[in-house]
């Protein structure tokens, strides 16, 4: 028995009937395929270019490649190139860039791994060169560099601050040192201040004696002498006050210096802790945030799509009734007058 006969395909007429059945389905499949290919940009022309780096830390497949802040491609492949002839092994990162954007990437452009914000997504940014070189071509290589991470910035800051903190500590130590230059200077100052009132008193006695001798001198001179005496009193009071202040400063200084030293130590420890925290956060937080936001976005889209699709939409009720209940005895407040409204 002929197979075509058994399936009802008798000659050209049978084949025609079969084509009538299958052709619409094939056309539909073709339309869907073309739509998917078009939507997914599967037939967009892309050009591979490469960058080489010591390691692939922070680089991942699918990472966007941007020029002037516009996404022009993505990282498509990362492979290790083994070392040979004494040269170290390196990592080759393949970037696929939409060919239409190649004109904006001269050969002397540089690729840089950076994060869009402190906790943002990592990207590869291409920094165009001077523009005098020809545009980069298929399979050519770009120079690669990494921008500093938060941890590296914190470390640099730490390096810069450390000498200053050390100097402050040394200064504090010098000030605190018993018998040191600073302590001696303070003691000398105190001694001088202590001797000042006695000198003043002696000077005053001398002046009083001189006043007695020159009592016959005219009133004008006598008045001058009186004024000088009052001025000296004032000087003495000031000197006493300065002496008391100096004594207070001398007492308080070691405690204040001790506090400054503790604060400096604490600041140094905090800087170390911040660095450790930043290192940890810089690695984990962006990944978590990226993943979380992607999941939420995906779920939203899926739910929204499902809600609009048939037959799910038939089972979703419409918006709730927004009307307040109508009451024939609605009132501002219970107006009760002998039980009547």
């Amino acid at each position: 028995m002929n197979v075509s006969t058994s399936l009802g395909l008798k000659g050209a007429g049978g084949l025609q009937r079969m084509l009538m059945f299958t052709l619409p389905a094939l056309v539909l499949v073709a339309i869907v395929t073309v739509t998917i290919v078009w939507k997914q940009e599967l037939i967009v022309s892309r050009t591979p270019i490469y960058v080489f780096t010591e390691n692939a830390l922070g680089v991942a497949r699918g990472m966007p490649v941007k020029v002037f802040g516009i996404t022009v491609g993505a990282v498509t492949d990362i492979i290790i190139i083994p070392g040979s002839g004494g040269a170290k092994g390196r990592v080759r990162v393949e970037l696929e860039v939409k060919s239409e954007h190649l004109q904006h990437i001269p050969r002397d452009s540089r690729a840089r791994l950076l994060r869009e914000s402190v906790v943002g997504q990592s990207i590869i940014e291409i920094l165009p060169g001077e523009g005098q070189e020809r545009p980069i071509a298929r399979n050519e290589v770009l120079a690669f560099e990494r921008s500093k991470s938060v941890g590296e910035i914190a470390e640099e800051l730490n390096h810069m601050i450390a000498p200053a903190v050390l100097q402050v500590k040394e200064f504090v130590e010098t000030m605190k040192m018993q018998g040191g230059e600073a302590q001696k200077s303070l003691q000398h100052a105190a001694t001088l201040l202590e001797e000042l009132p006695e000198s003043n008193r002696q000077l005053r006695k001398t002046l009083v004696a001189a006043e007695k001798v020159l009592v016959h001198v005219d009133g004008a001179l006598g008045e001058v002498a009186t004024k000088a005496g009052s001025t000296l009193d004032s000087v003495q009071r000031t000197a006493d006050s300065v002496q008391r202040t100096a004594a207070g400063v001398e007492t308080a200084m070691p405690s204040v210096l001790g506090k400054i030293e503790k604060a400096a130590d604490s600041a140094a420890q905090t800087a170390v802790s911040v660095k450790a925290l930043a290192d940890g956060a810089a690695t984990r937080i962006p990944v978590l945030l990226d993943s979380g936001s992607m999941v939420v976005r995906d779920v939203d889209e899926i739910v929204e799509g499902a809600k609009r699709s048939w037959p799910v939409r038939n089972f979703i009720s419409g918006p709730a009734d927004l009307r307040l209940p109508l009451d024939s005895q609605e009132a501002a407040r219970p107006i009760v007058k002998d039980g009547r409204r």
């Binding site: 028995m1 399936l7 927004l322």
Partner: protein, 296 residues
């Protein structure tokens, strides 16, 4: 054998095609949900938020949210949404004691000549107008509004029928036509029971009780008011419970049962006090004082 094979293949193909076409026709013929404008979504959210504020007793903020929802609905000229928010706003404003503003809100539906508000919403606005006017004692104005509500309410299956009868009974009572009020309240009770509207059923019973009391049937009045009280307690309507209790106090007082009346009034005072209605508390306390003084 070949014929059997041929018949089986054809029938299975035909069945598959028929199933697919049925599925496609069913899927395509189902109407997709209407697109929702951002303004409409925001309006719905504002309206829902306002309702939750209203239920919490924050009338000022609820009014602000209903006004916001109203503006959003106006921005897309959604007559249904505009009307619903205006009616809701009128309820909130009435609760706040601003009857003039509440009536003005409803007038925007009744007197509008530019938009095409659904007849059902116009009937509701007219009904609400009648309720507010009856509260303020404007029997004439309330009657006119009530007539409009009847005209706009669909003749077959008017959902407001029981409510309208209650308002009409209330107006008869205000007009001292207690026999008329009794008849209307009885009709209202029947309609509200048929429609399964418990809150309005309690209102009908209260109106019936008040009319019976005025007509001298204290026992019958007490019976129906106790029924109203039971419904209001099941619906957790504090203000209605207070009205029922004070009406029961009045019934007891009319029968000369001073102590029983005092007990009802004290219960009403406790409810009013808990509801924060100082005015009613003061009024009921005066009643109790007078009652006890008269009893001595």
């Amino acid at each position: 054998m070949g014929r059997i094979l041929q018949g089986g293949w054809c029938s299975s193909v035909w069945w598959s095609v028929v199933m697919l076409i049925s599925l496609a026709v069913t899927g395509c013929s189902t109407i997709a949900p209407a697109l929702t404008a951002p303004e409409r979504t925001q309006a719905i959210e504002a309206s829902k938020y306002a309702t939750s504020l209203f239920n919490r007793g924050d009338y000022a903020e609820a009014a602000a949210q209903y006004k916001r929802a109203l503006l959003l609905e106006r921005s897309i000229e959604n007559e249904e949404g505009i009307a619903v928010n205006l009616i809701n706003l009128s309820i909130v404003l009435q609760r706040m004691g601003d009857n003039a503003a509440a009536l003005s809100s409803l007038a925007q539906i009744i007197n509008d000549r530019l938009l095409q508000f659904p007849a059902g919403r116009v009937a509701e606005a007219a009904f609400r107008t009648a309720v507010i006017m009856s509260e303020t004692g404007d029997v004439k104005g309330a009657s006119v509004a009530l007539q409009l509500a009847r005209e706009k309410c669909p003749p077959s299956g008017c959902v407001l029928a029981g409510k309208l009868l209650n308002v009409q009974a209330q107006l008869s009572s205000l007009d001292k036509d207690f026999a008329g009020a009794l008849t209307l309240a009885t009709q209202a009770l029947e309609v509200n029971r048929r429609q399964g509207d418990s809150a309005e059923e309690a209102n009908s019973l209260r109106l019936l009780g008040a009319a019976l009391l005025e007509l001298g049937s204290s026992d019958a009045a007490q019976k129906v008011i106790l029924e109203a009280l039971a419904i209001d307690k099941s619906l957790l309507q504090a203000h209605k419970i207070m009205r029922d209790l004070s009406l029961l106090g009045r019934v007891a007082s009319s029968k000369g049962a001073v102590n029983e009346a005092a007990v009802y009034y004290q219960r009403a005072i406790a409810v009013a006090s808990a509801a924060g209605d100082r005015q009613t508390v003061a009024h009921l306390e005066q009643l109790v004082k007078g009652l006890l003084a008269g009893g001595r």
